[in-house]
Symmetry: C2
Subunit: 246 residues, 2 copies
């Protein structure tokens, strides 16, 4: 199956880094706070970070008391940034696609993945491998693009706007058709896999996991007053979080 490595595209890499460096972005406002709010106690735990990128989160897990963190990523550029900016004696960075984690020989107590699983075609294969790698009672916490954010049509805009340009609703096409959705994000041909809610839930349950919690973060009223452009997230949230247990 396809293993996408868009983060090693020169343009994508530099544009993505710029986006994440902006102080106000959806990751800082919604994604990371929800991720950290859902973390179990990391004290003394062995952590695996799937799609660790430039390693900021791996460093955070160490600060929260993790005994060791293994960060894997498919992108050489991202890992070079991680080694340079977020190295630590307790962190090991490995260049590896998520689809290959079955080859890891260690056991982990917590597996975390931030906004990476929508790039994976073989979701079932990854969840089964995560289950095998986890210790009994271990936690798998991940975020991904929300299923309403991956089911637009290439032919139409994702939004319908009023005469003032305000987004009045999201245009949802073929929610029930699971597929690869190619789109342009910094560069052409970024591949995301659209999966229905029920597929995500059933795949995890069939892999042996117990569902603990789901989150679809959206802005507070206070935040929308400060950044009115984020009202759109009420129509169609950007992120889905799932927390499950072995």
């Amino acid at each position: 199956m396809a293993r996408q490595n868009i983060y090693d595209n020169e343009t994508f890499f530099s544009e993505y880094r710029k986006l994440r460096e902006r102080e106000v972005n959806a990751n800082n406002l919604f994604e990371l706070p929800t991720l950290f709010a859902n973390l179990p106690d990391l004290e003394g735990k062995r952590i695996l970070d799937l799609g660790c990128g430039s390693g900021e989160r791996c460093k955070d897990y160490i600060k929260r008391g993790a005994a060791k963190v293994t960060g894997i990523d498919i992108s050489e550029k991202m890992l070079a940034a991680a080694e340079k900016e977020n190295s630590d004696p307790k962190i090991t960075y490995i260049k590896m696609p998520m689809e290959d984690i079955g080859s890891l020989k260690e056991e982990f107590d917590v597996v975390i993945s931030s906004l990476a699983l929508h790039y994976v075609e073989d979701f079932r294969g990854v969840t089964e491998s995560v289950y095998r790698l986890l210790s009994e009672g271990g936690i798998f916490l991940f975020s991904q693009e929300h299923p309403l954010a991956t089911c637009f049509s290439g032919t139409y805009d994702r939004w319908t706007r009023d005469e003032n340009g305000r987004k009045i609703y999201a245009n949802i096409a073929d929610y029930c058709v699971e597929r690869r959705n190619d789109s342009t994000w910094f560069v052409e041909g970024v591949q995301r896999y659209h999966r229905m809610f029920s597929t995500i839930v059933n795949t995890l349950v069939n892999s042996g996991f117990k569902i603990l919690k789901m989150d679809e973060p959206y802005p507070t009223e206070e935040l929308v007053q400060k950044y009115p452009e984020y009202y759109d997230l009420y129509h169609k949230p950007d992120f889905l979080f799932v927390k499950v247990q072995k």
Copy 2:
């Protein structure tokens, strides 16, 4: 909290009955087959049907070997039809809103509800009562209107159509705003409660349930060739099924 009894509205009742009597309808094509496919073995089991309507399903559960079935409904007209058309020595029909099942004194092995829970404001109260009424290991299986079907805006049409009138996408508004959505279905002011996926899942988990399976049924290609009007369900499914265990 509000307890809606729209089924006792004269017009609603007769129009709804006509709809369900049509051989080809979404209930017969998708809802009921998915419900029956997800049923556990009913042999010798004690069943509670929340929102039993005119009792067809209660009769089916008896045919599948259930020891006894209790059907509750808020609508007198529906229960009168049930007594007339689907009475059985093993079935007891009780006029009771779903919100009041906490007052039942019996234990049940399986609780089933077909397309009724979206009428309930206090979803959490009902799931907690169901948990208490179930025997250990008991199953709660329900269908409801799909969360994408309950988050349209009253101001806009639910669909955007092309020049030939074909529905090209569903118009999703305020998915993240949980609310009562009043709409016209046979009569004005039919009240449905919109809840996000995560709310449904988290409410069940917090009530003590283990998630076993979710379903969002949509038509097969064969069926769409026969009834092209059902292609719309690919954009926005009508029904959500959840199967959980105590």
